[in-house]
Structures are given as C-alpha cells and as structure tokens.
C-alpha cells in the first residue's frame, strides 16, 4: 500500500509542477498577483509530495519490502540499517527520486525564504524551476518508476554493491546532488532574468546565497567522493580523472567562476551577460553529468546500469533545457552589457583573468572527457583519455590562476596601484622563495614542477594571510573588534583561498612524492618504505554481520622503535558475491602510511599474501583544504548582508516591460 501511495505522490507532484510551470509565469506577464503568488503554494506542495514519496521508498527499504523491485535489487534483510537507508538512493531510480526531491526542495526554499525578491522575478524563477521538475518527474514516471512491484516476491534481496556500503558513500550522493541540483535554482534565476531582460546588482545579490549553498555542497560532495576513493576503494589514489569524477568537477569549476563573476555584477554592475552565461552553463554541466552517468555514454568505474532508452530521454531533456536557455541567451543577452568601466590593473581585471582561466580549465576537462566520443564519431578510432592528458593540460592553466589568486584580493576596484601592491607583497615574495628552497632541500630532488607548484601554493598562503592581516590590522590594538566588524564574506574569501592553497599542498605532496611498493609476504616478512619497516605477522579469519573477513596484522617500526600496528582486511560478501579491500592507514599530518592486502598470490602460494604499501606525504591536507573551502563558503553565506538590508532595485530609466 505504502509504495502505491508513494507512486501516487509522484504523479501528484508532476501535476503540481505542471501548474507551477505555467500559472506564475503567465501571471508575471499579465501582472496578475494571484497567479504569481500561486507559485508559493505549488512549490511547497510539490516538495511535500516528493518528501512523502521519498519517505515511502525509504520505508520500503527499512522494512525490507521485497515486493518492490528496487528493494530486491539493492537491499538485503541482513544489511546494517544505515545501508538499508542509504540503499534508497543507491540505485538509478532511487537516486533520481532524490534528484527531483532536492530540485523541489530548492524551489520550495526560494518560495518560502526569499522574501526580499520582487514577486514577478520570483514567479518566473519558480516557473522555470518547475519546467525542470516536469522534465525529470515525467522521466521518472515513464522510464524509471522506483515503486515497481515484483511478483512473486523473492525470499531475500540481492544486496547493495558492497563497495557502496561505506559511511562516506552513504552521504556522498546526497551532498553531490544538493550541489548539482542546487545550481538549478541559479539557472532558473538566470533564465527568469533573461525573460525579464534585466540583470542588475540586486539580482546578483539575490542569487548569491543560492550559488554559495550549492557550491558548498558540491565542494563537500566531491571531497567526500575523493576521500571515499582513497579510503574505501583501496586504490591508493584520490583523483583519477575518471569521466564520472570529471562531470562533477566541471560544474564545480563553472560554479566557482560564477561565484566570482557574480561579485563583479553585484559590486560594479558589469560582466552581466557572462554571469548569466555561467549560471546557465553550470547547471547545464550538472545535467550533462547526470546524462553521462546514466546513459552509459562513456565508460567509467562508477556508472549506473546502462539503458539506451533512458539515455535518449535524458538527452532530450538536456537538449530542451540547455539549447532553450542558450538560445534565449543569444537572443536577450546582447542588450545587457554596459556598466562600470575599469582599468587593466584592477580587481575587476583580476576577476576577469580568474574567470577566463577557470573557464579554460573547465573547457579542457570537458574536452578531455568527451574527446573519446568525438574521435570515435569522426574517425571510428576508440581511445580513452587518462590522467597524463589532464595533468599536462590542467596544471599549466591552474598555476597562473593561483598566482593571480594571491594578488587579486590586494587589488582595489576600478583602478589598482600595482607597484604599491607589489611593494606590500615584497617580503611575502622573499619568504615564499626561501620556503620553496627549503621544500626543494627537504624533498631532496623530486620533480621540478612539484617544487615550483609548492612554491606557488606557499605564495597563495602568504599573500592571502597578508591581505587578511592588513585588512583587520592584526598587529595593532583592537584587532579582535575589527575582525568581528569585518563582513563575514570577506573572512569567507580569505578562508576559502587559504583552503585552496592547503588543498594544493596536499595534492602536490601526495602525487609528486608518493612511494609505493607491492610485495609478496608471508609471516615474518619485513618491507621497508619511506623510513618505516613494516612486518607482516599473519592472517586471521573474522566474521562480520554480512561478510567474512581476512584480517592481517602488520607491525610498523621506525629505526627499530615501535610505531603502530595496522590491520588491513579483505572482505567477502557471500550474498552479493563480491570482495572488497579494507585498507588500514596510519594517519598523520605529515603523511599517510597506507596498507592493503590482496588475495593469496595463487599458485603454490600457501601463506603468501600480496602486500601493498603506500606512503602518501601530506595527503591529509587535501581533506583539511576541502573542509576550509566549505567553511569559507559557510562564513560567506552567514554574512548578514545577504539576509538583512534587502537591496532595492534602482528604478530603470526607461522602464519597458520585457514581454
């Protein structure tokens, strides 16, 4: 009964979305306040219905209702409760339901919370948001109903892929989706602005918190996914330039560019068309990501089950939304430019360079991701594009970006005094140079590029800290009061920039100075790595709730002194017929000692195990940096200027309505 109610709720939500996609926008054109205000009710109703549907599906998972196909295919009665709940979004249908739920929640949030936005803009935005809802709800109802029944019901389920049974992964998709789908509301704002034919600082200010919220969630989601790959998959890496990773990274890059460009629109009333374009592209790239992951268009280690029928439907949705919005952009945006002028050396120019570089980086990732498809279509040749391309193409774009990033906050709006700024940063430069030499000495060789990159990361740290200290006059009395008085957004920027530098330190350390050994071990074997000696003591069999594990005991010593014991595992999940590697890690800020074991080395190998040891220097700075990025976003989001002091729109000089 409950699954049917869930299905019914989805159908009702579709009806609500249909009403919302027409009534408010027509109302806005006809200045009918009642029609415009109806968006509020339908948005909340839609969200409520989808919350109910999602709850119904979750209930089916929790009580292990094996008459529902989705539960049969993705759950098992013996699975721990957390993963039963997480199983709700572990499949294509369930994650799609989560997708539309978040879409509706963002719509409802705008309907309820955004009280300072003019009614017409709000009505149009919510209508555009409903167009997306209609597309995806109908997709779900027509091709991927999560509540399909199965008869006769099997005795037990087929279990969720054991790789997905991990806490990090249980919360990774929701976060990633909040990021992906959160940009939908920014997209809706952009399209609504295009329809109105008007973008101004007030618009940029209204959109900013939504962009920030989505960006934070996406940052957190990507970081969690990377953390998961590192800890759970046991591959000893945190970023693989896999298509599925790339499609989450592209909206992040575009969203980051959007955050910065929107600041220029807000403060200086310029870059309007560009900001709108970025808002459209960010969500378009999210949609492209959904499409690639679900259509099987590109191969990936994490893709969902391939189904061409679904692929064509999503492609249709993509074509309508992306081409529609970009056509609207081509039509309306040319009338939009104007605004403040600025000198070649100014905050605006710095942000322009930042945007160009990020956009180039994003285009590079897009090109690399889709290149195999292009090449196959044109020449029939099949290739895959891997890390060598991305590293060679991405890093040279990023390094200048980081250099400018250190400088940017020091520049003033309109016209900046470059010699003055450089004089201010003189000592930072010298310190960074010395620091780089120290790095080169400590690293004792290593790739030159890594040393240079490390220097650039240090530069960003130095320049950011110097900028912050100068703004709050840290060394003079009353600094604390000044820190509190400064807008939180300014602290947020410093925190996020610093976070990126920290993240970079981790990324460079863990990729350039990583050491890795694979050896066959039996009880008593000692393997040296990065100054440690690791001794393999033996294997023990352990039973878990729904798996059987072989647990190895490893003694770690340094120069003869005991450091720690590590227990990597290999788990066999009999129901899902899969094995997973649970690595064990000694974590310190200086680096991770990462150990994993693989099956007995086959032939005549009684008691011989494959032992993989990796030393990843500085890798924890990656997670620390990611956390600081999110924290920076949160600080900025909590800025009271975003909540109170509702910006008033300047009366337009020649007020001609758009329609």
């Amino acid at each position: 009964m409950i699954p049917e109610l869930g299905q019914f709720a989805i159908a009702l939500a579709l009806i609500a979305a249909c009403v919302q996609s027409v009534l408010p926008i027509v109302g806005a054109a006809r200045r009918n306040t009642l029609w415009m205000a109806s968006a509020q009710a339908t948005a909340v109703l839609q969200a409520g219905l989808l919350i109910f549907a999602f709850g119904a599906l979750m209930h089916a998972f929790i009580v292990s209702d094996f008459t529902v196909r989705n539960v049969v295919e993705n759950s098992h009665s013996l699975k721990p409760m957390l993963y039963k709940v997480a199983g709700t979004w572990g499949s294509h249908e369930g994650s799609l339901l989560l997708w539309v739920l978040i879409l509706a929640l963002f719509g409802a949030a705008v309907a309820v919370m955004a009280t300072n936005i003019p009614l017409a803009l709000k009505a149009r935005t919510l209508s555009v948001q409903a167009w997306i809802s209609v597309g995806f709800l109908s997709f779900m109802i027509l091709t991927s109903n999560p509540f399909d029944r199965v008869f006769p019901p099997p005795l037990d389920g087929q279990d969720l892929n054991p790789l997905l049974q991990d806490f990090g992964l249980a919360i990774h998709p929701p976060l990633l989706y909040i990021g992906y789908v959160g940009f939908s509301i920014v997209f809706s704002f952009a399209v609504a602005a295009l329809i109105e034919g008007r973008v101004d600082p007030a618009w940029a200010r209204w959109v900013r918190p939504w962009t920030l919220a989505a960006w934070m969630a996406l940052t957190g989601g990507i970081a969690l996914g990377s953390w998961w790959a590192y800890y759970e998959l046991g591959w000893g890496g945190w970023w693989f330039w896999d298509p599925v990773e790339n499609v989450s990274f592209m909206p992040w890059l575009a969203g980051t560019a959007l955050l910065h460009s929107a600041i220029v629109t807000e403060k200086r009333d310029t870059f309007k068309a560009w900001t709108i374009l970025l808002a459209i592209l960010t969500f378009s790239l999210s949609l492209l990501g959904t499409f690639i992951v679900r259509s099987g268009l590109l191969t990936s280690v994490h893709a969902f089950a391939v189904d061409p029928e679904r692929g064509v439907y999503i492609l249709g949705l993509l074509a309508v939304s992306i081409l529609g919005s970009l056509a609207l952009f081509a039509w309306r945006a040319p009338a939009m430019e104007g605004g403040g002028l600025f000198a070649p050396i100014s905050r605006e120019a710095g942000l322009l360079i930042n945007n160009l570089l990020i956009a180039t980086a994003c285009a590079t990732v897009l090109f690399g991701t889709l290149y195999p498809l292009f090449l196959e279509a044109v020449t029939g040749e099949k290739i895959s594009v891997g890390p060598p391309f991305f590293n060679a193409a991405f890093i040279p774009i990023t390094l200048p970006l980081i250099l400018v990033m250190g400088l940017g906050p020091h520049l003033s709006w309109k016209r900046a005094d470059l010699p003055g700024v450089l004089a201010r940063l003189k000592w930072i430069g010298v310190t960074v140079l010395l620091g780089t030499l120290v790095v080169a000495w400590v690293a004792d060789g290593g790739p030159l590029l890594a040393v240079i990159s490390m220097g650039i990361a240090l530069w960003l740290i130095g320049a950011t800290v110097q900028d912050w200290a100068r703004r709050v006059k840290l060394l003079q009395s009353g600094a604390w009061a000044r820190i509190k008085r400064q807008p939180r957004a300014a602290h947020g920027m410093s925190m996020a920039h610093l976070g990126l530098a920290v993240l970079m330190v981790g990324a460079i350390g863990a990729s350039a100075w990583k050491t890795d050994t694979v050896s066959f071990a039996e009880a008593g074997t000692t393997v040296p790595i990065a100054g440690f000696e690791v001794t393999f003591e033996g294997i023990e069999q352990v039973r878990g709730p729904n798996y059987i594990a072989q647990v190895a005991t490893l003694n770690v010593t340094r120069d003869g002194a005991f450091v720690t014991q590590l227990f990597p595992e290999r788990r066999v999940y009999p129901v899902a017929q899969a094995t997973t590697t649970e690595s064990d890690i000694r974590q310190t800020l200086a680096g991770d000692l990462y150990v994993s074991i693989a099956e007995p080395a086959a032939e005549n190998a009684e008691g011989l195990w494959t032992l993989r040891l990796i030393y990843e220097p500085l890798v924890n700075f990656l997670w620390l940096g990611s956390f600081m990025l999110v924290l920076g976003g949160a600080l900025s989001l909590s800025d009271r200027r975003l909540r109170v002091g509702a910006p008033r729109r300047a009366a337009p000089l020649n007020a001609t309505p758009a329609e």
């Binding site: 068309a273 374009l277 459209i280 592209l281 378009s284 492209l288 499409f291 259509s295 099987g296 268009l297 590109l298 191969t299 061409p308 692929g311 064509v312 492609l315 993509l318 074509a319 992306i322 081409l323 970009l326 056509a327 952009f329 081509a330 945006a333 040319p334 430019e337 897009l366 889709l370 498809l373 292009f374 196959e376 279509a377 099949k382 290739i383 895959s384 017929q577 094995t579 693989a598 099956e599 086959a602 032939e603």
Partner: protein, 181 residues
C-alpha cells in the same frame, strides 16, 4: 557587441549534444576500447581449477608452446555465454583448436553444473573468483575470447558472444591468426 558572439555557446552546445545523440543511437559499445594487450605477451597469472571440476587450472605457462589457443572468458551467470558455447565447441572440434577458459567471478558449484549440462570443451579452466585475472586481461564483460599464438602473444581480443555476425567476424580474425602462425 556582435550578436553572433552570444550565439557561440548555443552552437557549441548543439555540437556536443549532437555527438551525444550519435553516441547513443548507433548501438555502439563504449567499453569496447581496443585491448592494450594486442601483440603483447599474455599477462602473468595463475588460476586454480574450479572446485569440483576435473579440468586442471590455467596459468601463463600453459599458453606458451601449445599452438594457437583460444582463451574463452565465461561465467555460468552470463546468458550470451550459453549461446556461444556450442559454437565455440564446434569451432574447437572442427578446426582442431585448443580452447582453454577463464571462469570469471563464478561460484564453483554453479560453474560445475553449467559444464555438466552444456559439455566441457576446455582443455584447462582457471577459476577467477575475484576477477583479478580478468582485470589483468582487460576483460570488460563476459563473454570475451582471446586468440593467443604459440609464443603466448595475444593476437586478438573478441568481446561479446561468438554468434551470428560475431561468429563471422571471429572466424575472420581466427583465419588471419592461423595465416600468421
């Protein structure tokens, strides 16, 4: 500003989506990247026999100096494997070829039943329970069949079942491999 500039994103998006449509519509298999193993020695591996089946296990050494050999990757849970099984058996018998197998991620009992039911044309069968050897061979799905030369060099990788049009293509590759020996 030139209005055309504002239409550039639209044009690029049309291009990307057109490629996307092409990618979905012509029944292509995105995972059929050519094997990096072609013209390379077979990877190092050693597999135990399937528990409860008399056929011995399979390792790298078994693929050297034994004439042209077909390495069939199969699993009892895979439908297409069932379809190609009689055809492979016939190819082996009629063309006097040695066929060995990698039993991919399969439960021993199920594999044993499967061989019992359909017949066992394989000289050697390695049980790749974990799929590790499958990764070494670059297997992207079952069934897959490799043609390995007398010197243990991979001559051809054939993903998918050897049936219908697939059989014709496979035979072509096989004839080329025989001519090269």
């Amino acid at each position: 500003m030139n209005r055309l500039v504002f239409a550039v994103p639209f044009a690029l998006a049309v291009l990307v989506l057109a490629f996307g449509y092409w990618g979905l519509s012509n029944g292509r298999d995105p995972s059929s990247i050519p094997s990096a193993l072609i013209s390379q020695p077979v990877p190092d591996f050693a597999l135990e026999p399937i528990e409860g089946v008399d056929t011995p296990g399979l390792s790298t050494a078994d693929l050297k100096g034994q004439g042209l050999t077909l390495v069939n990757v199969f699993a009892s849970w895979c439908g297409p494997c069932r379809a190609e099984h009689p055809i492979l058996t016939r190819i082996g018998r009629e063309q006097d070829l040695r066929i060995v197998a990698i039993n991919y991620k399969d439960q021993p009992a199920a594999a044993a039943d499967w061989l019992e039911e359909l017949g066992n044309p394989y000289a050697l069968i390695g049980s790749d329970l974990s799929g590790r050897t499958g990764i070494e061979w670059g297997v992207t799905g079952v069934p897959e069949t490799f043609i390995v030369s007398n010197d243990g060099i991979v001559l051809h990788r054939f993903p998918g079942p050897v049936v219908g049009d697939g059989q014709r293509r496979f035979q072509k590759a096989l004839d080329a491999a025989k001519a090269a020996q």
